[in-house]
Symmetry: C2
Subunit: 321 residues, 2 copies
């Protein structure tokens, strides 16, 4: 693939944006370098979108919800980009957004841009690429970015750390569902929405009450915002307007309290630190002597035969000398 | 301070053990090196103790609990070491274990060894030193190690990652207390004990029920173990025998399921990785050019003017070239 140049202006076309994202997702060093240069050039155009994370167990109705919620947002005049963080996805299939036909309306909406999760990557790799894609979408003029995750491994935490507000979709059958809340999900939720309220409204309201109680036993991450619990139907569209108002209200409250800006700065710095950490660890593991000694040392440490402190000292001296 | 030699055999005396710990806690590079060499020599004698983490809010009665619980254990023939992870402690006062007189019985018990948290350190520093002290205590023949934490910042997570079983003490006045559960505490709890049941048994049982419900909405960390909720009184000793049985049962269950060994191996490797990470980051920040450029780059990233990816690339190239 020959590397054509992409100018900042090219991002305003869908084709230009899509091409820039292929640079971000490419394994080739020169493509990644070009992506970073482009990002640096358009940085001034980023940061203005509302970044919304969405998670929920398989079957909760994420695709239908995003299709109708996103369409509601474009009908209000917004430009909506939909990204995904799915470390299990393969381009060949299985990706949550791979099958765009699951979003009938949004996939043909000229004000929407849908991009599946980058394939064949570790969670860290997916996170990096999705963060850069998010910035490109902002530079391309999308003012609402929805980042979806299936919630495998630590993916919610990763998504929560790249968005302004994190929405957790729940099923109304509280009995079963309450058992299935993954560790940490309630703690990163800014808003909980019990979906499929059209099927059994009483059950949905009961579930909402359960989640409210569960949230009350935890100290909120942001003292200015106690996560509300909504009941919605992604299918019928019931509650979606109110949900958008709640998300807008979250923006007003957190901007006023200063936590919006603070969160973004902290996210950027954590991201930078994690990239530096990854880069240092990568160089460390590539070091020929470290590489040669690593596996036998790991075995001794895992078996409790060598103290971790001695192991790390030995390897660090080798690398840094 | 002249560095006298400490032989592995010296650890069997309280004075020898205490002196080895001062090496671990020393800021002097040669002391730390000697501590590591000693640790490597006695590694074969470590790993056999039951490592128990204990947390709870101030006022929950940790000192009284540990005094009576530890005395119960020594009366059963165990040798008990009590360590602490308190990143806020100063040797001059304020340390949770600094004031040994709060443990009347244990502080004069020949089968017990109490060591306050190392002072004037970051959480990472305290964690490293406590981990090494824990190993030294094991090598000295202590077969039960209690690691106490006040639960400041991330200290519970740090303690949970160095023990086999993590005990969370709670107050019986559920209404107030449920509000105060720190994020993440329920998730690292292997056993919850509602303390001070002697004051109001009904309230304690009510609180226990609340915590049971709260735990049920979360997936347990270890699928072989659903955290039980006990009611105890550290003051009167009520429930302490049953609590020890529960802890012993946790050992049997997790050893059988394999999660005990797996947890220990993972803890060792995470510790090694974190030491390597810290060492790499330390060397990185000490690099003269990185050091000179760092603060202006951090500012740009925090302000959203420079992409984190470009920032990290720039700094990494400087360091690694």
């Amino acid at each position: 693939m020959k590397s054509l140049n992409i100018s900042p202006e090219d991002l305003y076309s869908r084709a230009g944006l899509a091409r820039a994202i292929t640079w971000v997702e490419s394994k080739r060093e020169d493509h990644q370098q070009q992506a970073r240069n482009l990002l640096a050039d358009v940085m001034i155009r980023t940061g203005k979108a509302r970044r919304i994370g969405i998670t929920g167990v398989p079957g909760v109705g994420k695709s239908t919800f995003i299709d109708n919620f996103g369409s509601h947002l474009t009908s209000l005049g917004h430009k909506v980009a939909v990204l995904a963080v799915d470390p299990t996805s393969r381009r060949s299939g299985g990706s949550i957004l791979g099958d765009k036909t699951r979003m009938d309306k949004l996939s043909v909406d000229p004000s929407a841009f849908i991009r599946p999760s980058p394939a064949g990557e570790t969670l860290g790799g997916v996170a990096r690429k999705t963060r850069e894609t998010l910035l490109l979408c902002e530079a391309a003029g999308y003012d609402i970015i929805l980042v979806e995750t299936v919630g495998v491994g630590q993916s919610e935490t990763v998504v929560a750390d790249m968005v302004d507000v994190f929405l957790v979709l729940m099923l109304p059958n509280a009995g079963d569902e309450l058992q299935g809340i993954k560790k940490g999900v309630l703690e990163v939720a800014d808003i909980i929405a019990v979906n499929k309220s059209d099927i059994d409204e009483k059950a949905a309201l009961r579930a909402a009450r359960h989640y409210k109680n569960a949230l009350h036993i935890m100290t909120p991450a942001d003292p200015s915002w106690l996560p509300p619990v909504a009941t919605i139907s992604g299918e019928t569209g019931s509650g979606l307007k109110a949900l958008w108002k709640t998300i807008e209200n979250h923006k007003i409250v957190t901007e006023r309290s200063g936590s919006h800006d603070k969160k973004r700065s902290e996210q950027q710095l954590r991201w930078m630190n994690s990239l530096i950490n990854d880069g240092l660890m990568h160089a460390f593991k590539q070091h020929p002597v470290v590489n040669a000694e690593m596996s036998s040392i790991i075995q001794k440490v895992a078996d409790g035969e060598m103290p971790a402190s001695l192991a790390s000292d030995t390897l660090l001296k080798t690398f840094l000398q």
